[in-house]
């Protein structure tokens, strides 16, 4: 038996064979359930999987949620950021390996806040493992040790939705964020509010990858 590469906790919120697959990435301090409603709305009738970060947020000795990285959204700890990216990449490969066909259907990432940052980072690092990305309240911080993109995005569909935090020299946000991903080869759509999410994935083509 082939063991998965990823050690992340995950839940299949909805599993419908033959449909588009959305993987959600939660906000800081949330459990994976925090993205269930958004994930289901983003992919009506389709498969939705919730992924949970490994690093706990503690109150006393209790884990009260999880975080993708330590440090503020505008200034993540690079080491934790890198480990989180690596764990998500492992999970994407696991999802490919779970498909018996020779052509694996690639998922969409849907993230909010910290999860949006991670979704965008994965779009810039592993665009060939994704069908698209929905980033809610998106920012892409400057992360020392990492200089996106790692690959040309080849028209990867990207939806930037929700609030757009103020742009600064520490983060890409708003128009600069959209421009950057466009320049890197992404097919960027900007939506001002959440209704832009509903059904968006259904309009995007499913990208394939040989296993």
């Amino acid at each position: 038996m082939q063991l998965p590469l990823s050690q992340l906790i995950f839940t299949r919120f909805r599993a419908v064979p033959g449909t588009r697959h959305v993987i959600t990435l939660h906000r800081r301090g949330e459990f994976l359930e925090g993205m269930q409603e958004i994930g289901l709305a983003a992919n009506p009738g389709g498969s939705v999987t919730g992924l949970q970060a490994s690093k706990g947020v503690y109150l006393g000795r209790d884990v009260v949620g999880y975080t993708w990285f330590v440090g503020p959204l505008m200034q993540p700890s690079p080491v934790h950021f890198g480990d989180a990216m690596q764990e998500i990449e492992r999970f994407l490969w696991d999802e490919i390996d779970r498909q018996p066909e020779n052509n694996a259907e690639l998922p969409f990432l849907v993230g909010a806040e910290q999860g949006a940052t991670m979704a965008l980072a994965m779009a810039a690092a592993t665009p060939d493992l994704l069908s698209g990305v929905v980033a809610i309240d998106p920012v892409l911080p400057v992360v020392p040790g990492w200089e996106p993109p790692l690959a040309h995005l080849e028209g990867l569909p990207i939806l930037l939705a929700g609030r757009h935090p103020a742009d600064s020299d520490r983060v890409l946000s708003g128009n600069r964020l959209a421009a950057a991903f466009t320049q890197w080869g992404g097919n960027v759509t900007v939506a001002i509010d959440d209704p832009g999410i509903a059904g968006w994935t259904a309009k995007q083509p499913i990208r394939m990858r040989p296993t």
Binding site: L5, K55, V57, G60, V64, V79, P144
Partner: protein, 607 residues
Amino acid sequence: MVESTRESRLRISRRGFLKAGGVSAAMAAGMGGAVGAIPFRASRAFAQQQWDEEYDVVVAGSGAAGLVAAITAKAMGSDTIVLEKGAYVGGTSLVSGGGFFIPNSKQMQELGYEDPRDERLKYMARYSWPHLYQPDHPTLGLPQHDYDMISTYYDTAPEVIDFLEQVGAATFAVQHIGGSVPTVPNVDYMDHFEENVPKEAGTLVTLDADGNEGGGGVMIANYQTWADNNDMEIRLNHRVERVVLDDDGAVIGVEVSVPDSAATPQATPAQTTVKTFRARKGVIFGTGGFVKNDDMMHHLMPFPHLQGCGAPTNEGDFQRIAFALGAQQGNLHNVYRNEGIYEQGIASPSAYNCIWYHKGDSMLIVNGQGTRFHNERRNYQDRPMAHFNWDPNNATWPNLLGYLVYDQRVAENWAGNFPYPQLGADASYVIKGDTLEELGTAIRERVNSLSSVTVGMQLHDDFETNLVAEVEKFNGYARDGKDLDFQRGEHGYDEGWQSQPSVENPTATPWPSSDQPLKSMYPLADTGPYYAMIVAASAVDTNGGPVIDTNGQVLSYNGDPISGLYGAGNAVASPGVNAYWAGGMTLGNAHVWGYAAGKHASSKSDS
């Protein structure tokens, strides 16, 4: 080899992130970094005929030890700066539970607890030095220095809290056990010692803006806010590499490496600039231990701690600087321990979670022979020591890896409480079997599949058989209410912290919460499914290094303080040695000795 081929597909490397995260490039390559001490005449400040910047007190590290030292010095009138090696403020403290051990606090007294000095010192002495402790001896059997240190801890701890409240750094309260019993104060870790009078309420926390008990994030945010409001700069990505000495050997400043620009995954070690900081009154290190320095851990630890949850920047910089100065070394073989999920630690070293305590009742942990080896409900400092029980016949640690075995009752009742996944969720590290025999076989297959598990860590031939027998014995103990092997549930701590079902899934508890004699033990179900996880002893951080005096000054081997050099928290030898007197021992040390160092340095005349 199949696994390595699959891993080789990964594009994202840790290496660039490690370098940029304040972790030295040399460390990332597995070597030691260039840290130490130099005379002023050999320093960059001498060469350029001036210091780049001058302060009264320079503090290295922005965790609890560093920030408390800095707040104290600044509030007492010293011009103070904090230099943080990492890319964020807070170090290990930021991701901690946020509690700290403060005996005899005003806050515990207000709740009606008494914490008399004589008894508390006896408790501390007995827990830390069971082989020396004599209750009727003037120093309780301890060497004078050790007695002075625990006395100072008791006397100073409440003063620290009062001071921090007075200067407006934070508001404090007694920490309560979380989960479903928020009104019960923390139970001390050896509550059953007769010397322990209050038994509980020894742990304080900072409160957030709404008056709620906060974790480490709230504590650091409070202290960082104070720094912002009082013009005390915290500078990130500043790694103190060397202390600078005057002709008499006193520490008068530091040399600091600052990256010129962001490192990239493709780049070789980041280019850095050396900057010099004069410290007119003293340099205080609160830079943590060396849990993330593989070389030091390999050579200094008598036992293999498999992963740790300390900050990635805890590479032993201060320990090496102090040793280069001839500082006394102490407690280098000890750590603040924990347990964690072995496979998770291998996959994501920085995202590793510590298991502070094992929730659930129908659960047990067995070793590679399939037998229990400790009371699974003891505290996270003492419990993992059982992983290092030596087998003299086979020259190995048979308990090095533990196998946490549980049933559906625990999987549902404690769902979502780490490390148990939420209801309906899955994780690769959870091993499953419909019967105990199947579970045993699945555990063996998993162990054999892990290339990191060496010959000396593999399962015994009779593991599966022994596991079934051990569960049967455990179930008998649970029904009788008496754990004849490890006395699980006999003491307050065992049940006080760990028996509460999940509050994350309040409606998903179809099980009786407790219909057995002990809250901490429940027979495993007669039928499956059963589950297991591989657990190992890990380190929160090390707690050894230079020995300090009651003022937080680093001592040389002749017993005199090294002028101008201070340390606190996990950067120095813990005065408690191996003991964990109560919840928050680590942050307690950070507060007490950070305060002592800041106060003493601030009281000095300029050098």
